[in-house]
């Protein structure tokens, strides 16, 4: 163990942090692509888009692992402090949220594929609006990460209630379709589960925004640690 005896110059450390951030943004792009493809697949009833989502999941998983390793190595070798330490911890958490967005996108693709051959029916849910809302929450959360913009991150936090509400309404309306024993029951169920997936995706966007705030500000919610460690 020679960490600390041979400290890598600060400038190289900061280059490594910038590289970590680039990798995280690339990871975010992969997750966003997966979600876009899953939603497009749903709207266009397009099996090839669903398959695209499945086929790209391994890439997301290995990007997650690679990022985790890099974050771990930086912690182990550089023993960063204060804002740098918070940044690396935020990366580890955001990384996991992005991977889960990938998982949720796979769920959406699977649910889409399950009803692909059925004649499309009108359902009392605006999956398109929910999808766009979730996509924009992720975009804003990633943007807040890119620019260390906590005001933007806070706007994401506020949006979470909107999608929760959309999901609740969708749930009630789709339940009625299913209770009526409609032949569209299966499509209604799948739409209901997709709505829940979108709501979960928004939760991950919210987590990302919270982690950006924690990184930049040392987070008010976690006030104990700022007095303790800085």
């Amino acid at each position: 163990m020679f960490v600390g005896e041979l400290p890598v110059p600060r400038i190289q450390f900061h280059r490594s942090l910038a590289e970590l951030k680039d990798k995280l943004l690339a990871m975010a792009a992969l997750s966003q692509q997966a979600l876009d493809a899953a939603l497009d697949g749903y709207f266009k009833s397009d099996a090839s888009l669903c398959h695209y989502v499945y086929e790209n999941e391994p890439a997301i998983n290995s990007a997650e692992r690679e990022l985790d390793e890099m974050a771990y190595d930086l912690l182990a070798m550089q023993q960063p402090m204060a804002i740098d330490l918070r940044f690396i911890l935020a990366v580890i958490k955001i990384n996991s949220d992005l991977e889960r967005i990938g998982d949720q996108s796979v769920n959406i693709a699977r649910l889409t594929e399950a009803v692909l051959d059925e004649p499309k029916v009108e359902l009392p849910v605006d999956i398109e609006a929910m999808g766009e809302f979730s996509v924009s929450m992720i975009r804003m959360a990633v943007q807040s990460l890119l620019e260390a913009d906590t005001d933007l991150a806070e706007r994401v936090l506020v949006m979470d209630d909107v999608i929760d509400d959309m999901n609740r309404k969708a749930h009630g309306a789709l339940m009625k379709v299913m209770e009526a024993g409609s032949p569209a029951a299966m499509q209604a169920l799948n739409a209901l589960i997709i709505a829940r997936n979108l709501e979960r995706i928004s939760d991950h966007a919210t987590n990302i925004a919270e982690d950006v705030i924690f990184w930049v500000r040392g987070a008010d919610v976690r006030h104990k640690l700022t007095t303790f460690s800085e």
Copy 2:
């Protein structure tokens, strides 16, 4: 910033790590209690158990925050290396999985309460078996953490396929109930979503087991980092 100039003695650091582990085990107990209460509430159609789950969620959330802070402080002030660093990172991840188990338990309680007043019908799903299986996966994962037992952790990983399979079968069978337009459609839907929640809970148990392996062995899957940092 005086970290490193005034190093806290190793013995105190190891005491802090033991304390962190105790706190994590207490957090695990809270999550396990929430899940037990949610499942009991489902089987006994007991609203007071559902309320118990809601009322205990804030305690889980604040335990999560407290643990995260403590882990952060240890990283910031002690700059741990190798197995100690891996332990603290594992704690941060396991903590988040335990909190999500609490969230899933709240979901189960909500779904239970939504059909509490309906006459109970026989459904083609063994939620009890799925529940017991998930509970035992968590118990084993927590035990593997307590004893740093990677063999036990590996047994958890294998169990994940079983519950995935149970969930898939439940999904198919319950879909048929819903498609038939049965008056039990709502109960069938809720059972279906509860089955999905239990499957997610098992995923969290699997994550915990993976983190235990990462902590103790430096994880084969992450072989790059072991050659790099040790």
